[in-house]
Amino acid sequence: MSKSLNQVFLPVIGGTALALSAALLFANMDYGQKKIGSLEKRVEQVSLQAETANKRADEEAAVVSELRDKIAEIQEAAAARQANAADLTEVAPGNDGKLGLGREAQPAEVAAWDVDVLPDGRGLPEGKGDAYWGEEVFAEKCASCHGDFAEGVDNWPVLAGGFDTLGDKDPVKTVGSYWPYLSTVWDYVHRSMPFGEAQTLTADETYAIVAYILYSNDLVDDDFELSHENFAEFEMYNRDGFVIDDRPELEYAKWRGEPCMENCKPSVEITMRATFLDVTPEDGGESVMNHATADDTPTFVAAAPSTGTDATATEEAPSAAASPSVDPALVAAGEKVFKKCGACHAVGVGAKNKSGPHLNDLIGRQMGSVEGYKYSKGFVAANEEGRVWDEVALAEFLAKPRSYMKGTKMAFSGLKKQNDLDAIAAYLKSVGE
């Protein structure tokens, strides 16, 4: 506003001065009185204009100052509103007085959708089925994913076994070992299974399947019949195995407060690297995973010289160069196959046990011999017998893990192709020695 006023005002003043000096100049040069007269008249006109302009400028300045006051007032009010948190955003009004939207649900509609079953058995329809019949229904409707014995195919859930493993490094959480309520099994099978054909099982079929799952967990005999009448009596193995979220007491109370900012530890070393596992997908064009190239990783030390820690570079990346007898193409193929294993097994420098034992120096290693790993009974026995991993044993095991080693914790269903078996052996030899 003030800027535009100056633009109007200054040229008018300047113009007046210019005209005045011009008039004096002309008078001295003895121009005709007439001309002087007309010039004087012109000066008068310009002076008048200047006066008008001045007056207008004053008026406008007054308006400006008025507007400024107004703006200040608005800003002040806004600041006050903000300070009082009285902004205009509000939560949507509730409806204590009802809006009358929607319509009443019909009893048949509620019955059609409200099919969940509560832990005390409320919601169960009448019906029954025994484990013997359940085995037939299970084989037809469930076994393609869960296996004939509820042992799980590929990555599909294992439903049976795993008792007394919940405290192990690799707990096997099945219906038998983990699920706390039988109602959950019935509800889930009836409402969400079979996968791709949900809500097609009759109540009797569901009772039978649930009875069979209990049987496959050795919790009942094969003539056991489950029905709405005896349902509530059945107590699951892990019923008391759960505690309600206790993070507030155990963790939140501890992990509050001002954290350390300087010299929080004397030194830092890298203890594990994701590239050793290489289980990250490589698709995705230009932003494929970038693998760090450093051969050795540095140790970071605190600036304060108080520690005296001899910091040294720690780990070396696994050497890509394999022994000359190894076919590099086969090793590369094996690296790909190993992606099926990498979720549970680590191999390479610094590899540690995960849910499966590390696989360094596997060929020639005594079975069940990795320290700190809790093996299944089968491998413990193999260890006691002094059995050793060689390529033949490895291939047989990987082809059909559960037939080779009964009771193995390895849930993997096996490698079907000979090429894959050869490749994985080559890969493990190349990186794990």
Binding site: A92, G94, N95, L99, L101, G102, R103, E104, A105, E109, V110, W113, D114, L118, C145, N155, G167, D170, P171, V175, W179, T184, S192, F195, G196, A198, V243, D245, D246, E251, Y252, W255, R256, P259, N263, C264, K265, V268, E269, T271, R273, A274, T275, L277, T280, P281, G285, S287, N290, H291, A292, T293, T297, T299, F300, A302, A311, T312, K340, S355
Partner: protein, 423 residues
């Protein structure tokens, strides 16, 4: 810095100079002119695409890499699986719907608004059925919230495993939701029949083949839960529950039921499959923790990260990341460049919103030395994001869910980053 790291620093410097040289070559030196400037380019001469060429626009082809990705070995079938938001390549806080992670139990379904019904039953005065158009007549609200799968970072419990922020932390998205408060709908049906609300539950269930269902305590249901039908201004995407999903702010994503079809007021938790056999964690003594609904404070540096190496050598570098807490606002994020020995407080992109993603930045002059980058979030309750060691000491290594540990990226002298664990 000890002798060994000092020696290596020479070679690091060499490496970074080479990189710096490479990046300048494209941009022209002080003496050479840049043909991108001195020569007339096609796009400066020939006309471009007309309007309506893409009635609903997609990102330009050069950004085709910024997409959701799956880790195939994680699950048995993509129909019952999860993928990951490309958080490494995004900035700000809002996640575009088209690249926001998906998690389905029986696949994403196509459900028309006309075919949509929402039932409220159980302990209510009058069981009701709403059509989609009814929902649009209730007073509605707008809120930005993060949705994080409880299994986010779950693969990292046993050790550094996946090499990329997308894979370690990408089971999260952050959108502005428009919807009706759940309490409004519950009041419409009337809660008089429920009596004392203190020990009551609300069971919510989806319309898809998994009919995923979860029990929510009444206190939360009456607090900030939304029945949402818009995200980031437009209709929900099919994969996020079109036409209507539940938004349960700050709580694990599995409770944000998609294709919401039923809300039942009951006097006990249903103890459904997803709240007993899944979304529970086993301790080392074999007992399990259940009803772990809240997502604790967490953060991650999104760039640099394994998928986002430093492309420019030493000099000015923006370290950027995300922080969030299911307990409220993020109040502070600290960043360490040496694996947790020293920390610097980062700058927040914007004041943190409650239960929403907060962007943080640390603007540094990178000296070209390797870094062990970490970020550590604090929320308004004073909670400080724990280290992996702290979590393991407390919970063991058998947990799957709720891993909110401090993440470490090792950035080498070339600016290449890797997912690591440190002492």
């Amino acid at each position: 810095m000890d002798a060994k790291t000092r020696t290596s620093r020479r070679s690091f410097l060499k490496g970074s100079v080479a990189i710096a040289g490479a990046s300048v070559a494209g941009a022209a030196s002080a003496t050479e002119t840049d043909p991108l400037i001195t020569e007339i380019q096609d796009w400066a001469s020939i006309t471009g695409a007309g309007v309506d060429e893409t009635p609903y626009g997609m990102p330009i082809s050069f950004e085709k890499d910024v997409v959701r990705r799956n880790v195939e070995w994680l699950t048995a079938s993509p129909i019952s699986s999860i993928n990951f938001t490309p958080i490494h390549a995004l900035d700000g806080t809002i996640t575009p719907q088209g690249c926001a992670f998906e998690r389905h139990h029986s696949g994403a379904i196509e459900l028309r608004k006309e075919d949509y019904r929402l039932m409220i039953n159980g302990l209510v005065d009058k069981p009701l059925v709403f059509q989609y158009t009814d929902l649009e007549r209730f007073p509605r609200e707008n809120h930005v919230y993060f949705c994080e799968c409880a299994a986010n970072t779950g693969m990292e419990w046993a050790g550094a495993q996946l090499n990329g922020a997308q894979f370690t932390h990408g089971m999260i998205h952050n959108m502005e939701y428009t919807g009706v408060p759940l309490r409004t709908l519950l009041n419409e049906a009337g809660l008089g029949a429920a009596g004392d609300l203190k020990d009551k539950w609300v069971y919510v269930e989806g319309a898809d083949a998994s009919s995923n269902g979860r029990s929510i305590p009444m206190e939360k249901a009456l607090d900030d839960v939304l029945v949402a039908f818009k995200a980031n201004g437009e209709a929900l995407r099919m994969e996020h529950g079109y036409p209507v999903r539940l938004v349960v702010p700050g709580w694990e994503g599995n409770m944000w039921v998609k294709w919401l079809r039923r809300i039942e007021v009951s006097d006990m938790a249903v103890e459904s499959r997803e709240e007993t056999s899944k979304y529970t964690d086993v301790y080392e003594n074999g007992t399990a923790r259940k009803w772990t609904w809240v997502m604790d404070a967490k953060s991650v540096i999104t760039s640099p990260s394994p998928q986002m190496p430093i492309p420019h050598g030493k000099g000015p570098l923006v370290i950027s990341g995300l922080a969030w807490s299911g307990h409220g606002k993020i109040t502070r994020v600290d960043v360490s460049r040496d694996g947790g020995i020293t920390w610097q407080t980062a700058r927040l992109g914007r004041q943190g919103d409650t239960k929403a993603l907060t962007r943080f930045y640390l603007d540094i002059d990178w000296d070209g030395n390797p870094m062990l980058l970490q970020s550590r979030a604090m929320d308004e309750t004073g909670y400080v994001q724990p280290t992996k060691q702290q979590l393991r000491e407390m919970r063991g290594e058998n947990a799957v869910y709720h891993n909110n540990c401090i993440q470490t990226w090792f950035v080498d002298e070339n600016g290449v980053a890797e997912n690591v664990e440190v002492s």
